[in-house]
């Protein structure tokens, strides 16, 4: 079978040792895990096997958290609201990649008894489910979605989102109105063009012009209102911007045309209407690019409001994090995140603090030790006493740092606004010069004024309004297809001018989790034997080293047996029975405490690595060496920036030794270790005051303030929510090569924007002399406008062809 190496459901490669086979109706298929098999059984069982033929999945694999969620009605019921006769809940479904995924979800949820209607919005990946609360519970719906390999999250729309949604509708109505009226106007204009060449009666001409005036007025004053307001703000702030240029162009051609109508001249109504319509089209494109980015970010964000388990006299109750008070006793199970800062009241466990501190290996916590919000409990259930309410936890403090950093960041003026700032005064000067020149030639004052106005009309090209949005839409669109999400058009611009790239270590240039690099057996033991032994006793542990052992075993085709009588000793290791023999895996101190014989006095630990020892039946059996490996594509990205003379710097909260080792293996000369979030932010800000433009790449909570302090903050999918939320640029797959692609795309897009602006101005340069000498006719003006807009659109579309990889 040719596709024997990939999972039938998720298309991911099946590692030896993972293989699960399923059969139904005579077919036998391979899957990478029980979850995928379950999803397949569910889908084919519902008679929707068509899904596999119709879906268009470009990338293999499914969401990392698929099949894992547990959903409780106590938590979900908060998101349920009444809608008519039945209840409704809004769900954000992660993992939707094509229209067929939408179809599958609608069908499968719709088949649940008690569900009356399901609508999934493909653009935003949101589902609205109407159900009868008596027959079906929200958790059943959630579990069903999770069984399919998608990740459901309850969802309520934020105020900001409602606002942007309203803005989009408003823009759409304005554009629709402008477009409809401009179409009407074109009919009258063509009559006037024909009249210009073939002759037209003065009455008819006046009638056509009056109709033109009738349809143009709402275009300028209703559809164009945002530009008029923006332009006015530009005047008040003494910062000429794009809006001002557009407002001047539209108003001057409108005013000129009214005068021409009254005196029997040629009118420019269509110029006024076209400027507004085309630029509204540009804004709409820009808005949809932004909206797509916002939806992408939301998809990557996890549950921001978790629920905590509070221990009370009678038992355990679940409460919203916001309701947890200082002094409350909370239960945190293995694999769960600490949601508040606190001290351990009972129990010992290993805690993964890497999201908060950047330290790559877990830390042991005993009674009375502090735990930080955002870190993950790995091995044992513990009870903690909350020290600060959630609003004052470490994460909340970091969020405040982020806000401060963001408020310090000066807004940047886009390239089009910069061009306008120079262009507006230049146009006004040329127009004034034209007037005085015509006046000096003893032309009648009225006619000289008209010529001067014509200069302004021709100088405000529609193409200028399309130049930036078209290129940005094409650029961000091409990037989004390749899994790079830009949160706004200005990010492209800043990224293209970056001079320093600052990288976080843990989880950014390294994978953030250790991997087995070597197994060193004691005499009498074999490598495979050790791996099988270790994997068997580590089979249930959450510790990253245990995961590394399991992955190693799977990679080498060892099907991990499940050990018996497993015990985890926090800060030490694990103990268990494998094939009747007592096996212990853990750090040397732990084995020494167990009284293992033959333990070597000295085990050499390679730089940046960790060692775990294995003992079998009380005898030393060998050692496993782990190391946090570099991401495969990290060196290539560093090389990409180096070639373009961009300084690379490595920052980390981890120990200096480890940072030095990683910096050395990447060939990065500048590095700093043991940095707190505040120090990282200060470091970035210091560089900024030296006039550098900074790209910061990170993924942890501790990177978040630095991400927002930098000119461009880049987070990688799988990082913490706060990092994703504060960054400007997101790599939707944990693949650093996309960063180089994003940088190249940004540079290409900026080049296209400059070309576009250049094109727009070239048409001006041709048109302005014609206007200054009074030879410009509306026909020339219309032709120049159409040509320049087409050039700009065509040039921008070149960007859509670029793909990653």
């Amino acid at each position: 079978m040719e596709n024997s190496a990939t999972c039938f459901h998720c298309n991911a490669e099946i590692l030896p040792g993972q293989l699960v086979t399923g059969s139904r109706g005579g077919e036998s298929l391979d899957f990478c895990c029980r979850g995928c098999l379950g999803a397949w059984l569910l889908i084919t069982g519902a008679g929707l096997g068509d899904f596999y033929r119709r879906r268009e999945w470009l990338e293999p694999g499914i969401c990392a958290d698929a099949y894992q969620g547990e959903y409780h009605d106590s938590f979900l019921s908060r998101y349920v609201y009444a809608k008519g006769e039945s209840s409704a809940i809004d769900i954000l479904i992660e993992g939707i990649r094509c229209a067929t995924c939408v179809w599958l979800n609608e069908k499968i949820i719709g088949q649940l008894p008690g569900v009356s209607a399901v609508r999934v919005n493909y653009a935003t990946n949101r589902a609205r489910v109407l159900f009868d609360p008596g027959t079906v519970s929200p958790s059943t719906i959630f579990t069903r979605i999770a069984e399919l390999g998608y990740v459901p999250r309850p969802y309520t729309s934020s105020a900001a989102e409602e606002r942007s949604h309203r803005e989009r509708k408003d823009l759409l109505v304005r554009f629709g109105t402008a477009f409809f009226l401009t179409m009407q106007l074109m009919a009258y204009s063509f009559a006037l063009y024909a009249g210009y060449f073939q002759g037209i009666g003065p009455d008819m001409k006046l009638t056509m012009q009056l109709f033109s005036l009738l349809v143009t007025t709402p275009v300028v004053f209703y559809a164009g209102a945002p530009f008029l307001r923006g332009g006015w703000r530009g005047i008040v702030n003494r910062a000429p911007n794009m809006d001002l240029l557009i407002a001047i162009g539209a108003l001057s051609s409108y005013g000129y045309s009214i005068y021409a109508t009254l005196t029997g001249g040629e009118v420019y109504f269509e110029t006024a209407a076209m400027i507004v319509t085309l630029i509204l089209a540009g804004r709409l494109l820009e808005n949809s690019a932004k909206q797509r980015a916002a939806a992408g970010v939301e998809r990557l964000l996890g549950l921001t409001a978790g629920e905590a388990k509070r221990v009370t006299g009678g038992g355990v109750e679940s409460v919203a994090v916001a309701d947890v008070r200082a002094g409350d006793l909370l239960l945190v199970g293995p694999g769960e995140r600490f949601l508040v800062d606190g001290r351990i009241a009972e129990g010992t466990t290993d805690v993964d603090e890497s999201p908060a501190t950047g330290e790559s290996l877990p830390v042991v916590k005993n009674d009375g030790d502090r735990v930080i919000a955002g870190s993950i409990n790995l091995t044992c259930a513990v009870r903690i006493v909350c020290e600060h309410p959630a609003s004052d936890s470490f994460v909340a403090r970091v969020a405040r740092l982020v806000e401060e950093a963001q408020s310090r960041r000066a807004p940047i003026q886009g390239v089009a606004d910069r061009a306008a700032a120079f262009f507006v005064p230049a146009v006004l000067f040329l127009s004034a010069a034209t007037f005085s020149w015509q006046y000096a030639l003893h032309v009648e004052t009225g006619s000289a004024l008209m010529t001067a106005l014509a200069v302004v009309v021709i100088a405000c090209p529609c193409a200028l309004g399309l130049a930036t949005p078209m290129a940005i839409l094409a650029g961000t669109g091409a990037a989004a297809v390749s899994g790079v999400i830009f949160k706004g058009g200005d990010i492209l611009e800043r990224l293209s001018r970056v001079t320093v790239a600052v990288f976080d270590k843990t989880g950014t240039v390294t994978r953030g989790e250790p991997a087995v690099v070597a197994i060193d057996p004691a005499p009498g033991f074999a490598v495979r034997e050790l791996a099988a032994m270790a994997a068997a006793v580590e089979c249930a542990a959450q510790h990253p080293l245990a995961r590394a052992v399991r992955d190693y075993a799977l990679m080498n085709g060892i099907v991990p047996a499940v050990g018996d009588d497993l015990r985890t000793v926090p800060g030490g290791g694990v103990l268990g029975l494998h094939e009747g023999k007592m096996v212990a895996v853990g750090n040397p101190r732990f084995l020494a405490r167990l009284g293992v014989e033959g333990l070597p006095a000295e085990i050499d630990v390679p730089a940046g690595g960790t060692v775990a020892c294995i003992a079998c039946s009380g005898r030393y059996a060998g050692a496993i060496v782990f190391r946090d490996r570099l991401r495969d594509d990290a060196p290539a990205v560093i090389a990409h920036f180096r070639e373009r003379h961009i300084r690379c710097i490595l920052l980390s909260g981890d120990s200096r030794e480890t940072v030095r080792f990683i910096a050395g293996s990447l060939g990065i000369g500048e590095w700093e270790g043991e940095m707190t979030p505040e120090e990282k932010t200060a470091f970035v800000e210091r560089l900024r005051t030296k006039g550098e433009t900074i790209l910061m790449v990170g993924d942890g909570i501790n990177d978040a303030p630095a991400l927002s302090a930098a000119d461009v903050g880049c987070a990688i999918a799988g990082g913490t929510d706060i990092a994703l939320e504060t960054s400007d640029l997101i790599l939707a797959r944990p693949d650093l090569a996309r960063l180089a692609f994003a940088h190249a795309t940004a540079r290409r897009t900026m080049a296209v924007i400059r070309q576009n602006l250049g094109w727009a101005f070239i048409y001006n340069i041709v048109g302005i002399p014609l206007a200054m000498t009074g030879r410009l006719t509306p026909v020339y003006a219309a032709a120049a406008m159409a040509l320049s807009s087409l050039c700009v659109a065509g040039n921008s579309l070149r960007l859509t062809g670029t793909k990653h990889g």
């Binding site: 008679g47 929707l48 068509d50 229209a99 067929t100 939408v102 179809w103 069908k107 999934v120 919005n121 493909y122 653009a123 935003t124 509708k169 759409l172 109505v173 629709g176 109105t177 409809f180 179409m183 009407q184 009919a187 009258y188 009455d203 008819m204 009638t207 109709f211 349809v215």
Partner: protein
């Protein structure tokens, strides 16, 4: 002849306004919120068994 042209123009404006009102209604109703899914939806309900 002129008056007939003017009558036709006015008529076209009225018709256009009708279309424009339909458009406004469609935007308000959220018909443009998801423009990707409906084009596939018509292919789906072919009784998938």
């Amino acid at each position: 002849m002129d008056s007939s042209i003017i009558a036709l123009i006015v008529l076209s404006l009225f018709l256009g306004c009708g279309c424009w009102l339909i458009f406004i209604w469609a935007v308000k109703k959220g018909e443009f919120d998801d423009v990707e899914r409906p084009k596939h939806r018509m292919l789906d309900d072919d009784d998938s068994r």
